[in-house]
C-alpha cells in the first residue's frame, strides 16, 4: 500500500519526489475502494450525460435516473425483493449442488490418475456445451419449475468447480505430501490438514468463477423456464414494453453479481493469506 502510494506520488508530482508524505488527494486515490467507486460513478455519470443531451435515445436505453426511479418503484411495491429472493435461492441451491459434485469428482480425479483417465474425457466433452443449449432438454426433464433452474445453475457452476479442484490436487507439492506421510499422518489428517488447505488457493477462485457463471445461468433459466426471478422480471417487462424495468433488472443482476464476487474475494484473501498469490 505504501509503496503504491509513493509510486503514485512520483507520477503525479515529480517535483515532490523528496517529500515524505504524499499530497492528500494522492493518498485518497491510493485507496482501491475509492478508485472502484470513482470508476462506477464515472460510468453512470457519462451514461446520464449522454442521455440528457440526447445522444442516447431513451426509447433504446433509459437514463440512469429513469432506471433508478424504476428500481425504487419495484423496491417499494416489493416485487424486486420477491424476484431477487427467488433468483438468489435458485443460485444458492444449484451452486451448492455443483460445489459438492465438482469438489468430490475433482478430488477423486486429482488423486487417482486411473479414474481421471476415464472420467476427464467425459467431463471435457460435456464442458463446451453452453447451458443455453441444455434448455430444451432441461424443460423436457424438469418442466417449468425451480428444478429446471437448479439444474441449469448446476451445469454452469459444476465445470469451473471441477476444473479448479482437479488442478489444485494435481499441483500439490509432492514434498509436502511426503513430509506429512513420514510424520505419520493419518488419512483424515492428510485430507483435512494438508490436501484441503494446500488446495484452497486454487479451489476458492474457481468457486468464485463458478458462482459467477451460476448467477448468469439462473437469469438465463428464468428468461425461459420460470414464473419468478430477475430473469422473469426482465422477460415480463419486455413483453409489457417497460424498458425501464428491463434495465432495472439488468442493473440488479450486475450489482448483485459484483457484490457476490467481492464478498468471496474477501473470504479468499483471509483464508489464503499464507499463499504467495495473495500477498501484498
Amino acid at each position: 500500500m505504501e509503496a503504491k502510494a509513493d509510486a503514485g506520488a512520483l507520477m503525479a508530482a515529480p517535483a515532490l519526489r523528496q517529500s515524505a508524505s504524499p499530497r492528500p488527494l494522492t493518498r485518497i486515490l491510493a485507496n482501491r475502494s475509492v478508485r472502484a467507486a470513482l470508476g462506477l460513478t464515472a460510468f453512470f455519470g457519462l451514461w446520464q450525460v449522454l442521455s440528457s443531451v440526447g445522444v442516447i435515445d431513451d426509447f433504446l436505453l433509459p437514463s440512469p435516473v429513469a432506471v433508478a426511479r424504476a428500481l425504487w418503484d419495484l423496491a417499494v411495491d416489493g416485487s424486486l425483493w420477491i424476484h431477487l429472493g427467488a433468483s438468489l435461492q435458485r443460485v444458492a441451491v444449484g451452486f451448492v449442488l455443483a460445489c459438492i459434485a465438482g469438489l468430490a469428482l475433482g478430488l477423486v480425479c486429482g488423486w487417482w490418475r486411473t479414474i481421471s483417465d476415464y472420467v476427464r474425457p467425459v467431463v471435457e466433452a460435456l464442458r463446451p456445451i453452453p447451458p443455453l443449449a441444455w434448455i430444451p432438454i432441461t424443460i423436457l426433464w424438469f418442466g417449468l419449475g425451480d428444478a429446471a433452474s437448479y439444474f441449469l445453475v448446476f451445469l454452469g457452476a459444476f465445470f469451473p468447480a471441477f476444473v479448479a479442484t482437479y488442478t489444485a490436487v494435481r499441483s500439490l507439492d509432492r514434498n509436502q505430501m511426503n513430509a506429512a506421510l513420514c510424520l505419520g499422518a493419518k488419512p483424515w489428517q492428510l485430507f483435512w490438514d494438508v490436501l484441503i488447505p494446500a488446495s484452497l488457493p486454487i479451489i476458492l477462485p474457481g468457486l468464485r468463477i463458478a458462482l459467477g457463471v451460476g448467477w448468469m445461468c439462473v437469469v438465463t433459466a428464468e428468461l425461459i423456464a420460470a414464473q419468478t426471478g430477475l430473469g422473469y422480471l426482465i422477460q415480463q417487462s419486455r413483453m409489457l414494453f417497460q424498458i425501464n424495468n428491463v434495465v432495472a433488472g439488468m442493473v440488479t443482476i450486475g450489482l448483485v453479481g459484483f457484490a457476490m464476487s467481492a464478498i468471496l474475494e474477501r473470504v479468499e484473501r483471509k483464508v489464503n493469506a499464507w499463499a504467495p498469490s495473495e500477498r501484498n
Binding site: 514434498n175 506429512a180 506421510l181 513420514c182 510424520l183 499422518a185 489428517q189 488447505p197
Partner: protein, 280 residues
C-alpha cells in the same frame, strides 16, 4: 557389493557414542533403482548394487555430485519410493512405506504454509493422537531447541530460509524418530546460515542420539558432521568409498581447522574433482 569391496581401510572404531558395531539399524542390501523400463533406451539406472550397513546412533553423510542417486537412496530409505532390486531393512524388517520412525528434512523445507510454526511442529504429534496440551508443550520445547522461541505463531512465509529450516528440523524431531533423514537440508541457504545450522545439527544430533543420514554435495559439511562419509559416484549411482571420521563429538567450529579435517577435505576434493568436472 560396492560398499564392501571399496575400501574401509581401517576397522570401525566406534566414534559414535551409542554405536555398537554389531547393532545394525539400517541394512541396505544390494539396492538398485531404474527409472523407465529396464533394457529400454530411455531407462536410467539411478542406483546400482548399493550396500551399506548403518549402526544405531551413527551419523552418515552421503556425499556425491548431482545425479549420483544419493537423494534417490534417501527416498527409498524414507519409503517414498520402492527399490527396483535389493531391499532395505530397518531393525530387520523391510521398509515398505514412510513412517514416523524415519522423518525427513527436505531441501525446500516442505513446511505446511497454512500452519504456524507451532502447528507445523505439532503435526507429527497430532498424528500420534497426543492430547492438545501435551503436544503444545513438546512442540514449544523443540522450538526452543532450534532457537525459534518467539516465532511460534509466525507462518513460514514470514521467516527467512534458515528459520524455515530450523522449524522443519523441529517438526522432523517431534515424533521422536529413530532415524533422521536429511536431503541436502542446507543447500538453499547462504554460506553463513549454512555454517551456523551445521553446528546446530552437530549439537542436536549428538544430544538426541539419533541415527542420521545426511545427503549433501558439500565435502566439508559431509566431513564436519559425519561419523562416516559414504562417497557415491554417478551414472550409475554406486558407493565409491567410505571415510571414517575420527573427530570427537560433539563437533565444534574449531574442528574445521583440525589438520586431519583440512587434509581429508582436500584429499576428497582431489579424488572427486574429475567426477565433479564431468558432471558440470
Amino acid at each position: 557389493m560396492a560398499a564392501t569391496s571399496a575400501l574401509v581401510s581401517q576397522p570401525y572404531q566406534g566414534h559414535a557414542m551409542t554405536a555398537d558395531p554389531a547393532d545394525i539399524q539400517i541394512d541396505i542390501r544390494n539396492v538398485g533403482k531404474v527409472y523407465g523400463t529396464k533394457g529400454q533406451d530411455n531407462a536410467v539406472i539411478a542406483l546400482d548394487g548399493v550396500t551399506l550397513k548403518i549402526r544405531r546412533g551413527e551419523f552418515i553423510s552421503l556425499l556425491g555430485p548431482s545425479g549420483c542417486g544419493k537423494s534417490t537412496l534417501l527416498g527409498i530409505v524414507a519409503g517414498f519410493q520402492a527399490a527396483s532390486s535389493g531391499q532395505i531393512l530397518q531393525d530387520g524388517r523391510p521398509i515398505t512405506r514412510p513412517g514416523p520412525s524415519r522423518t525427513v528434512v527436505f531441501q525446500d523445507y516442505a513446511l505446511f504454509g497454512w500452519m504456524t510454526v507451532q502447528h507445523n511442529v505439532e503435526f507429527g504429534l497430532k498424528a500420534k493422537g497426543m492430547p492438545k496440551a501435551e503436544r503444545a508443550e513438546i512442540a514449544r520445547a523443540l522450538i526452543a531447541t532450534v532457537h525459534l522461541t518467539g516465532f511460534e505463531d509466525k507462518y513460514p512465509h514470514e521467516m527467512s530460509g534458515g528459520m524455515k529450516q530450523r522449524a522443519a528440523i523441529a517438526r522432523a524431531l517431534a515424533p521422536d524418530p529413530d532415524i533422521l533423514l536429511m536431503d541436502e537440508p542446507f543447500g538453499a541457504l547462504d554460506a553463513q546460515t549454512r555454517v551456523l545450522l551445521q553446528e546446530e545439527i552437530a549439537r542436536i544430533s549428538s544430544d538426541a542420539g539419533k541415527t542420521v543420514i545426511f545427503v549433501t554435495h558439500g565435502i566439508d559439511e559431509a566431513v564436519f558432521l559425519a561419523d562416516r562419509v559414504v562417497v557415491m559416484s554417478p551414472r550409475p549411482g554406486r558407493v565409491r568409498e567410505e571415510v571414517l571420521v575420527p573427530l570427537p563429538r560433539p563437533r565444534t567450529a574449531e574442528m574445521r581447522s583440525d589438520p586431519w579435517f583440512v587434509s581429508t577435505v582436500n584429499d576428497l576434493w582431489e579424488t572427486l574433482k574429475p567426477e565433479w568436472q564431468k558432471g558440470e
